[in-house]
């Protein structure tokens, strides 16, 4: 244990948040309680909590206390639109059409599935995003049921899997892969576009700590869509 004390305290709390022991909205111990627990000065616990606040994992409010932040850890860094929000911002009506929904074990021969869920169970969801009943994107998604067990009960006739996950599961790491492809066959038909139409293929993986949450591949119809990302240094304070 050559790690500084403030860093050990920070990691202990972070681990509880990522494990879900401290769920979004939960109140953390006060600085006074953490001082007593670790037998240290207030500046030391303050440094640990401030680092968590800077990283976006914790909200600190005077008189009220420190709380686990609601899932929006990523919002300062990445602004890939939730399709529903984006469609409604254009004044169109959004609808998610569920095509298939299956639960099965992860295939150990598939690198994607093994990395996501090991040998655990997967929820696979296929669907189409519509704007004013015009198809905008086809989506193929895998979700690790070990990481998100409560998703079994969700009705995806009412909300898309992406929107549900965004509101319920905090993520800490993500990888995004974007390419241009020509829509072919079934995908082109589902998008109601001629074969050969230039589409954006977006592949995204999301983790909470070391645990995979979801893998998703979307094919976005033609040049209907821009993906926009903004980047800047993290501001302290």
């Amino acid at each position: 244990m050559s790690l500084p004390l403030h860093e050990r305290i920070r990691r202990e709390i972070e681990a509880d948040i990522l494990a879900g022991t401290l769920p979004p909205g939960a109140r953390l111990p006060t600085e006074l309680e953490l001082m007593a627990r670790h037998g240290c000065a207030r500046m030391t616990v303050s440094k640990a909590l401030s680092a968590l606040a800077t990283a976006g994992l914790v909200d600190r409010r005077k008189r009220a206390g420190s709380f686990v932040a609601r899932p929006k850890v990523h919002s300062m860094v990445l602004d890939i639109p939730d399709l529903a929000v984006e469609v409604e911002r254009r004044g169109q009506r959004y609808r998610y059409e569920l095509l298939h929904r299956t639960v099965r074990a992860a295939d150990p021969a598939s690198p994607v599935e093994a990395a996501l869920a090991g040998t655990g169970e997967l929820l696979r969801i296929e669907g189409v995003h519509h704007a004013d009943d015009r198809p905008l994107a086809v989506e193929d998604r895998l979700i690790s049921l070990a990481a998100v067990p409560e998703i079994r009960a969700v009705d995806f006739g009412l909300i898309s899997p992406g929107a549900w996950l965004l509101g319920h599961v905090p993520w800490t790491e993500a990888e995004l892969r974007v390419a241009a492809v020509a829509a072919e066959g079934e995908a082109a038909a589902r998008l109601d576009r001629p074969a050969g139409t230039a589409c954006l293929a977006v592949e995204r993986r999301t983790w909470r700590g070391a645990d995979g949450i979801t893998w998703v591949r979307q094919l976005l119809s033609g040049s209907d869509f821009d993906l926009v990302a903004s980047f800047g240094p993290t501001r302290a304070g």
Copy 2:
């Protein structure tokens, strides 16, 4: 002045870095000097410097001092490949072909140009990126000469504008826009692809503080390319 003292100190140093008064590699005042200058305790200046280090603007080394970081502010957040690096990683030979190079005043009627350079001068550079003499991407770039005057003297037969900027100019904010388009006409011909080929159109703007540095639009040939971005929370310490 209701800002905390540590935050005022942080901003003062950040402003000097962004203005270029403190160029990359320059040594900052020591904590002792900053204490004397601001008449405060060491913890206060330490907080300001630590925040700058966490944001990636400053490197701190024991015994040596604190230094303005070399331009790599963004590397933790965004990994959009420098095309030259990416091509060489595949074991191919990279070449940048300069097509046009002109200097002119920014057009106030163009929102892009006005936002980049106000009424100042622009360097416009058009070129093609090649891998093993096969065209990979066409690029159209604008650079604000007020922000980067030393670029007038650079020979882009030897290095691409993007690689030069990456090595010489630190940026703090960036916006990236990605869409799928079908290559047509001149662009398709320069990429040596049939019209209608699905391509990635990448548009990117970069700032240093409030000053625009560059705007660039690249058309990446077919599915030769993935763009990959990784995201995670900033770690303190």
